[in-house]
Amino acid sequence: MTHTLGRPDFEVIAGWVAPGDRVLDLGCGDGTLLKHLIETRGVNGVGVEIDDANVLSAIANGINIIQGNLENGLEVFADQAFDHVVLSRTLQTVRHTEGILREMLRVGREAVVSFPNFAYWKNLRSVLDGRMPVSEDLPYQWYDSPNVRFFTLLDFEALCERMGLIIRERSVLDEEGNPVTDEVNFLGSLAVYRLTQQR
């Protein structure tokens, strides 16, 4: 299976976004996802990014980009300013997990979160073999990883329940980006969730 953009979770996310929606992409990198959503869905997009080089690339890509640190919250954004707030492969790098999820659902109607599943069988096998996992979705060595939180699908769903967040949809992918439907916490390498909360 080939993936336009080389990021299978982007295709899942794009499928949840309707034309003309307002989308905030947190940790948007050079704005690839937003550019794709603008071109294919006509969305109204804004990105947040901390890295200088990515900010420069996003501006060159014509993306509305706000430079800032997610750990400091989303103070420049008003309540319910967006239809979707996307955090792709970034939640595991954020220290204040609950804080960022609350902020996402303050500024957006819906939070879209993707993250690597630490309980993916290859990761478990790696640990059983005595080494921290390095894979398609966890591509870093333990000493240079930006990841500070390691969790599984079940862990995340337990947190959602504790926080009163509603899982509207879930898509689980293997390392090749193909959908996984059975034994997702064991066979899934990357999970994408669509969350909302009671208002």
């Binding site: 804004v46 200088d52 900010v55 420069l56 996003a58 501006i59 060159a60 014509g62 993306i63 509305n64 980009i65 706000i66 430079q67 800032g68 103070e75 420049v76 954004f77 008003a78 300013a81």
Partner: protein, 374 residues
């Protein structure tokens, strides 16, 4: 930065007979604006960028004068062929604002009604008055709408004001190291600077020209104070530390520390060419600046009147107008649905960072301007 200087340039003068009614209630019956242009206005007149100056700036933004090769424009490093304000693509306009002391009508100009310098009689000018005067210059040059209006500090405030006052005439606003209004601390610094001038015995109520003197001591102090607020603590520490001009303490009040020497030199240099009345006017224009006042302080409502796309930039070490102040503008623009990008640039030069030649900073401006459709 790669690219070249625009080379030799010439200042031009435009005279305006149409009276300008000012925010303060005053009226300028007629006035001159001096300006410079770089590059060529295209046939569609769609490639013009207005560069607004800050407190002590003027129309000489870039290049040098043929007979003064060392007199280089104050923002030369960003203007020219291959530079972010690329004169192969854009037509750049810089002017000296009303109330200035570099050739445009100001307190040191002759008041036609009296034949004497305006002095204390020169009316107070606000940022919005400058914008209206700049709009008349745009009319004169045949520019209906600017591809971009940009500036740093007080210059950025003019760009912001342009987008509110003439929404249909600004396609992009580039607002660097600015704030939506001054804080109490900002105003306090300005007032100390003004007090230094106003209490100088040579000030003579602003009519010092008639006494053939100038309040140099006050102006020098004002500049020394201002200069401190333009630099970062780190930068001053790196540049001067506690270095002494001589190796031992002299236990006197002369110049001992290098930082004292530097500040006194800067103060003297500035007092040598700048007009004290202009300094007073410019600082008051800063203090009064608050476009949201028209909307009971609701900056979002104010910015909703603009139609421009925005690039907002701040500097991490700027404690005069901190990144938080720029983010107030960003928040209002986001809430009012404007296209906006915000870059928080890590440079060590405090408020003055906006004048520095830094590859990332200039890269951001360059990338933004390249995406502007002409």
């Amino acid at each position: 930065m790669p690219g070249q200087s625009v080379g030799a340039v010439e200042a031009q003068r435009a005279h305006f007979e149409q009276p300008l009614h000012l925010r303060s209630g005053g009226v300028l019956p007629a006035y001159d604006l001096v300006y410079e242009t770089y590059g060529t206005l295209n046939a569609a007149k769609s490639n013009a960028i207005l560069v607004c100056h800050a407190l002590s700036g003027h129309h000489h933004v870039a290049g040098h004068y043929a007979d003064q090769p060392d007199n280089i424009g104050w923002w030369d490093n960003i203007v020219g062929p291959g530079r972010p304000l690329d004169t192969d693509r854009f037509f750049i306009v810089g002017l000296n604002n009303l109330g200035g002391c570099h050739g445009s009508t100001g307190p040191s100009s002759i008041n036609p009604a009296t034949g004497q310098p305006w002095g204390a009689d020169f009316p107070m000018v606000a940022v919005n008055d400058w914008v209206h005067a700049q709009a008349r210059l745009a009319d004169r040059l045949g520019i209906d709408s600017w591809a971009a209006v940009m500036g740093g500090s007080l210059g950025g405030m003019q760009a912001l004001r342009w987008s509110i006052t003439f929404p249909e005439r600004v396609r992009n606003a580039i607002v660097i190291a600015a704030a939506p209004k001054l804080s109490a601390q900002n105003i306090a610094f300005n007032d100390v600077a003004r007090q230094a001038i106003l209490t100088d015995p040579d000030f003579h109520g602003g009519n010092y020209y008639a006494y053939n003197t100038r309040p140099l001591r006050g102006l020098r102090l004002a500049r020394m104070l201002g200069h401190i607020t333009y630099l970062s603590d780190d930068q001053m520490g790196e540049k001067f530390g506690r270095e002494l001009r001589n190796s031992a303490f002299s236990f006197g009040f002369g110049v001992e520390f290098e930082v004292e020497s530097y500040l006194r030199y800067q103060g003297d240099k500035f007092a040598g060419y700048f007009d004290a009345n202009t300094y007073l006017l410019m600082t008051k224009a800063l203090d009064y600046f608050d476009p949201s006042r028209e909307d009971d302080g609701d900056l979002k409502a104010t910015m909703a009147r603009s139609q421009a796309n925005f690039l907002i930039a701040s500097f991490t070490t700027d404690w005069r107008f901190t990144p938080a102040r720029s983010k107030e503008i960003v928040a209002a623009l986001l809430a009012s649905g404007r296209n906006v990008s915000y870059a928080e640039i890590d440079l060590n030069f405090g408020h003055d960072s906006f004048l520095m030649d830094d590859a990332h900073y200039h890269g951001v401006v360059d990338a933004y301007l390249r995406n502007i459709k002409l």
